[in-house]
Symmetry: C2
Subunit: 299 residues, 2 copies
DNA sequence: TGTAATTACGGGATACGTAAAGATG
DNA sequence: CATCTTTACGTATCCCGTAATTACA
């Protein structure tokens, strides 16, 4: 086992107090943390933490070692940070998976900025609205609208997008317009699969508060553009990102429903495969995107 | 990979200059060192060493990181040493493989001293003159006379033992006594297998210098006592440790041959399975034995 | 052309997670 | 008795070594 990881676990155990907390923080199981601490003590030949199932007490040796461990970890941090400043030119290839429409509208310009700043970086853009397997496809970062169902991925929020509840005028003429979220039960809805709570739509009420509706429909897709297409064709009601539906709204191909209710914004996330160590250029890319998205609001 | 191991490899690469030298020192293959350095650079996102197949040059970032890496490694060393001093009571079980005769005469008393000093230590003595598989038998330390053929084991010299060239009086009466090392070619010799150069016996000449003889015989064994028994029974000439043959010499069951030539002493070694990390109690035990054997000469 | 580093690949050790056991207040 | 750690076990991963390839003097 990586000795610095053992130190990290030990330090956090001293600070947080329970194996469970450390495990959650470090994204491993309790049993793993237990083995890590045991291995560290075994290596040192010294008990660091006296523990029963209910109590933990840092030994005298543990107190001493805790200080040293903290120093070591921060020395590693500063050493790596220092050497990375020394050679700030990022290089190598980034494989970035982006949604088709959102990618074209919002990601590409920012990627261009990133490329301009870092001459030696290459970017491979993989357009997809599906939740591709990041590991198999060797993708460094996937940018997606909404939180993924697969929570094993590490995610970071880049921005939020407004959403509109829409349907085609023809559909509304035929089926009527819902007047309250609960009316959606009577409608055919177009569901986005692959997102957490894809079938529960919530709305902010004018007086404050929130109303949720579990919706169902004939069509479900893990692709927003497919839903947009189906909505245009009058197959049902869809809850879609503002920038996705704007043209259709302007053209009169779609009309907005429940316009007096607010829709909670959907997060735009950068997703990474659950690697233990994130490559600097990936981290820097994501930092850059977070920063770039924070500058301007999505319209 | 263990980050501190990567640092160690990098530091030694800077100091030694070639991947091969580092690999030999760290007991891994060149390809492994190559991957280690590549991984370290990959993690940092910085090239540390510009290398072609023929030349290596430490980059500017590498120079800087070298200093930090050295500090980190020595910080780890001192942190572990410090915490181990803090709690010097060793505990746990040591599985020690010892030769039958040498063990009884020289090891057991020293083990007793070690047990007396460390109350919480348990020792399991496994008597064997064979070269047992340390890993399979989960042996922590094996003490052996002579250097093992299997050089994958890490060994540490505890002491040296004098040796005598012996045969039974009956054998000498029948076959005559050798007058020079080269005469041994005409004799039936009793060979110890499992030792490096077990079939090449060398002797120090009175005027200085050394003479080697490649010997052969009908009987070979990886057990000194078997050779002693065969020598007593008159099956040939044996080169055996002083303490092993003393009783038989005193009793007249064996006579010494070539008494005017010196025999290079055989090393007494502590052997460990090639583990990456030696447990403190094992290390301390061996340190203790080295010290204990250094006190008194073997007779 | 010979030496040294890198890359490819296969086998084996190992470290993780799941689940059950154990312990303690 | 409930909660938290440890232990047992199966599996997937990763890491090392062997061998082929590449690169350079």
């Amino acid at each position: 086992m990586d000795r610095l990881t053992l130190l990290h676990a030990f330090v956090r155990l001293v600070e947080l107090g329970t194996f469970t907390a450390v495990a959650d923080e470090m994204r491993v199981k309790q049993s793993t943390v237990s083995k890590w601490i045991a291995e560290l003590e075994e290596r040192l030949g010294v008990q660091l933490i006296e523990r029963t199932t209910r109590t933990r007490r840092v030994t005298e040796a543990g107190e001493l070692f805790y200080e040293r461990a903290r120093e070591l970890l921060s020395a590693w941090e500063s050493a790596t940070a220092e050497v990375q400043e020394q050679a700030p030119e990022l290089r190598g290839r980034l494989r970035v998976s982006v949604p088709v429409v959102f990618g074209r509208l919002f990601v590409v310009p920012r990627v261009a900025d990133f490329l301009q700043r870092h001459e030696a970086i290459e970017v491979e853009l993989l357009y997809s609205d599906r939740y591709v397997n990041l590991i198999e496809e060797r993708i460094d970062v996937a940018i997606r609208v909404g939180l993924p169902e697969d929570s094993s991925l590490t995610s970071r929020k880049l921005a939020e997008t407004g959403r509109h509840l829409v349907a085609s005028p023809e559909y509304v003429a035929r089926r009527g317009a819902p007047e309250r979220p609960s009316d959606l039960k009577e409608h055919t809805c177009l569901l986005h699969t692959g997102l957490s709570n894809g079938d529960v739509w919530s709305f902010g009420l004018p007086g404050g508060g929130e109303e949720r509706a579990r919706v169902r429909g004939r069509i479900a897709a893990n692709n927003s553009e497919a839903l947009l297409y189906m909505a245009r064709r009058g197959f049902g009601v869809a809850l879609l990102a503002t920038w996705l539906v704007r043209d259709a709204l302007d053209a009169g191909e779609l009309v907005e429903l429940l316009p007096n209710l607010t829709r909670p914004p959907a997060p735009i996330c950068a997703l990474m495969p659950p690697r233990r160590f994130v490559h600097p250029r990936v981290r820097r890319f994501i930092d850059f995107m977070v920063d770039a998205f924070a500058q301007a609001r999505l319209r």
